[in-house]
């Protein structure tokens, strides 16, 4: 665990040394600030459009941070020729993978914390009350979603040739699942066999990332989701994180590091 946390610590330091997070955070703040200044029929209590825009920007930023940070971890170690010296130390390949995953996931968590604090402040400035538990649920689900994506991107970084191709594939897959995932079984009904069976199998096999998208509930002030469903969703995400991480460990074991 010590080795894993040491690797994770380096990844987190890398995030706050790089400019990605700061740039995305500033862009989010500036856009939301400009949107907040719009005069809509002299009504200063309109807030939901602002919450939606802010959450959309947070989602885009967090996906960019998670995928790009994770996709370059192992390739960068190889390119800088630091992978071999790293593994020469008392650090197993599994520990390296787990350390990288933990670092990226925690880094995403820190970024999310900043983003959601800003979101809460923005919403409270207009609504004059804090729906803290709702924001906590949304942030927690969002963080676990990023966990699944980080694990998948880590696996992808060992399979695909370059970080750019890995990142592109991750973005396409995540976008596809978020937009169509919920209705993939309906899409299957319009297809012929054997495509129908394949799409149906995908529907059950793919991680349903849309579970973790609570934006509509937060934007429109819906009541809290029952905690038992949140716990089940977190377990579901943990299962997929484990699947991708085990896959990554297996691939990395057979991979030449030089």
């Amino acid at each position: 665990m010590k080795n894993i946390s040491a690797v994770a610590g380096i990844v987190i330091k890398e995030l706050y040394r790089r400019k990605d997070f700061y740039a995305l955070f500033i862009v989010t703040v500036v856009i939301c600030g400009l949107m907040a200044m719009l005069n809509i029929y002299n009504d200063t209590n309109i807030v939901r459009y602002l919450k939606e825009i802010c959450l959309d920007l947070i989602w885009i930023s967090s996906l960019v941070i998670a995928i790009t940070t994770t996709a370059r971890q192992i390739p960068a170690e190889r390119e800088n020729r630091t992978l071999l010296p790293l593994l020469a130390k008392p650090l197993t390949r599994t520990q390296l993978i787990l350390g990288k995953f933990l670092g990226c996931w925690l880094a995403c968590g820190l970024a999310l914390l900043c983003f959601y604090l800003f979101f809460g402040a923005l919403a409270a400035s207009r609504e004059h009350h804090w729906l803290l538990l709702n924001y906590f649920q949304a942030g927690l689900m969002h963080w676990f979603l990023l966990g699944v994506i980080v694990a998948f991107a880590l696996l992808g970084s060992l399979i695909f040739a370059a970080p750019s191709s890995n990142a592109t594939i991750c973005f396409v897959l995540v976008g596809g699942i978020l937009f169509v995932g919920r209705n993939l079984d309906r899409v299957a009904l319009t297809l012929r066999e054997p495509t129908r069976a394949i799409v149906n199998a995908l529907y059950y096999a793919l991680p349903h990332l849309e579970f973790y998208d609570l934006r509509d509930l937060v934007v429109h002030n819906w009541p809290l989701v029952a905690w038992k469903y949140i716990v089940l969703a977190l377990l579901y995400a943990s299962f997929y994180m484990a699947v991708f991480l085990i896959g990554a460990c297996l691939v990395f074991r057979r991979k030449a590091v030089n």
Binding site: Y41, Y49, R182, D185, E210, F211, L214, L217, V219, H220
Partner: protein, 323 residues
């Protein structure tokens, strides 16, 4: 290798040629019909595709009206053909049918059942309390940014103005802004009887200005009647036009057929005005006109009967010629 002096001269010649060409083409470009330089920012950036975006934002406003509970392209949207926020204004005929509460249908499998816990899954309207059933009806204000954006993108969409003005007036009690929206609508769509109807409602219900309400409703009727090519052009007042129209057999143009509800509303509101002022024969005439476009003419017939009774017409034997 060219000497630098030649390169400088070449650069200068290219700049002069570019300047001359721009000056030559500019006058032609200004008169070119495809030029976007004269339009607003959206026109320049998006061209005609802005109408598509405008429609998306209009639907987005209706989605907000439902607090996010809205069918996707995969769901049965028969109950959402006409935006509910527009239908609830009472001035738009609805094409909705089917179950608006259950477009999701029964759960298909465990993933679908589980997933429904994480997005809005209950039909609510913002003006009736919204998602938590506790909010005030003024929360309907949340639809306004999208309607404003939609109106900016497509200034020719009449419904955007009427819906915006209705909610501003009815729930936000922001009558001056509603008035301004409708006047902007009239500037952009001067032939819109829908906007004139909504403006009349604003004058009548918010300002209690009966005369101005009558004037704009009469203008609305005149514009609606002019959709029929058989109706005489020119500056004939609506009262004269309607008398001729009621006597003719009903032969509505396609646009009129799609907009019968607004004509019914215009004429019944005018009838109400005349009834309140004691001008019962004119009120009856308006109601007879309303009957021609109404889906429930028997209800109007009862009103006409009541007015005739008040007039005493039913007790006066009408002498019909024997030939």
């Amino acid at each position: 290798m060219l000497p630098s002096r030649t390169l400088w001269l070449l650069l200068l010649a290219l700049l002069v040629a570019g300047f001359g060409l721009a000056a030559r083409l500019d006058s032609q470009f200004q008169t070119w019909r495809g030029s976007r330089t004269g339009g607003d920012l959206f026109q320049v950036a998006l061209g005609d595709s802005r109408r598509m975006f405008a429609n998306s934002f209009y639907v987005k406003a209706d989605e907000y009206y439902h607090s996010g509970y809205y069918p996707t392209i995969f769901d049965d949207n028969a109950a959402f053909q006409t935006a509910h926020m527009a239908a609830d204004t009472g001035a738009v005929s609805t094409k909705n049918h089917g179950d608006e509460h259950g477009f999701l249908g029964p759960t298909r499998n465990w993933i679908d059942a589980f997933g429904r816990n994480f997005f809005p899954d209950r039909h609510t309207h913002l003006d009736q309390g919204g998602a938590d059933d506790l909010s005030g009806s003024e929360n309907v204000r949340e639809i306004l940014p999208w309607l404003k954006l939609s109106a900016d993108l497509d200034p020719d969409n009449v419904q955007t103005y009427t819906v915006t003005a209705y909610w501003l007036r009815e729930r936000m009690k922001n009558v001056p802004e509603a008035d301004a929206v409708l006047h902007e609508g009239i500037r952009n769509c001067p032939d819109s009887y829908d906007i004139f109807f909504e403006l009349g409602r604003l004058y009548y219900e918010a300002y209690h200005d009966r005369q101005r309400a009558r004037n704009v409703w009469l203008e609305g009727v005149r514009l609606w009647l002019r959709l029929d090519p058989a109706v005489p052009r020119g500056k004939l007042p609506a009262t004269e036009l309607i008398a001729g129209w009621v006597d003719r057999p009903t032969n509505l143009s396609p646009v009129q057929q799609d907009n019968q509800l607004v004509m019914e509303q215009l004429t019944t509101h005018l009838a109400k005005l005349d009834e309140e002022e004691g001008n019962l024969p004119q009120a009856i005439e308006w109601l007879e006109a309303a009957q021609k476009v109404s889906e429930t003419p028997q209800v109007l017939q009862q009103r006409i009967g009541r007015l005739r009774y008040e007039l005493g017409l039913e007790f006066i034997p009408v002498l019909k010629p024997l030939y």
